[in-house]
Amino acid sequence: MSDRLFNWYRFASPQAFYPLAGRMIPWFWALAALFGIAGLYVGFLVAPTDAQQGEGYRIIFLHVPASWMSMFIYLVMAFWAGLGLAFNFRLSGMMAQALAPTGAMFAFLSLWTGALWGKPMWGTWWVWDARLTSELILLFLYVGFIALQSAIDDPRRADKAGAILALVGVVNIPIIYFSVKWWNTLHQGSSVNLAKSSMATVMLWGMLLCALACWMYSIAVALMRVRRIMLEREKDTLWVREELAREAS
């Protein structure tokens, strides 16, 4: 094993990561709050009404960030899971496990806000449209991942089984993303286009700020959760005892 890889490995050890994560969490909370306030200010107070959709379009500032995060978190989770399967890092399984509930929450929020948007816009809460269906599948995948992991007692085995499921489910992500292109559906196509945005710049800004807020939020929550998982899984090691003793004092 080369020296560099070894260092990487040490850094990826829970023992080294735990205090680091603890120091990073407040910063991400601060960033999340900052972007969140800015995004909501722009989106709900500054942005003008949409010509076709009226005020209902403001759901976009919630719906799009939630949808993006649900997909993005899945990719990150699958990445960690695959890493764990390939190299047997202890940290990677914990990261995957920590990300899943937050991802599931955003998938649910994407569905919820989408449904609440669909009623006024399309006149129905739900259609079996490709994007909507694949987003629903994403939520199921998250739930399945969580359920599978919690059904297996041995954490090593749980990590591996979860990793396989996560990797199999990755095919769903491009389907969600490109479904509006591949099938002509009720759902809106992609309108964020850096070259020539079809949206008013203000709207775009609001959306991006909200998305950034969700991103920072996800990182903060995932770090919190991974720290909890580390304590739980490594409770018999020396470092957890020392860490807890240090925190108490």
């Binding site: 107070l45 806000t113 609440l116 919190m224 304590l231 409770k235 807890l244």
Partner: protein
């Protein structure tokens, strides 16, 4: 700068207040609830671990595992 004329207008959101605020409240609630629940479960976990360590110290078996990655 601010687009709205009155608070009532803001709350009504055209005809779509129910939908917009329904989305917003659920999203906000979940995003606030999640970290709170996490912090609480962390606290109870730490309390449980401390109890366990004290019990182990009392009957003095189960030496802590060295960290071996």
């Amino acid at each position: 700068m601010i687009y709205w004329n009155s608070l009532a207008d803001f709350l009504a959101m055209g005809k779509h207040g129910l939908y917009v605020w329904g989305s917003f409240i659920v999203m906000a609630a979940l995003m606030i609830l999640e970290p709170i629940l996490l912090a609480r479960s962390r606290k109870s976990l730490i309390a449980r671990l401390k109890r366990q360590y004290r019990a182990e110290k009392l009957d003095n078996h189960h030496p802590p595992r060295e960290d071996n990655p």
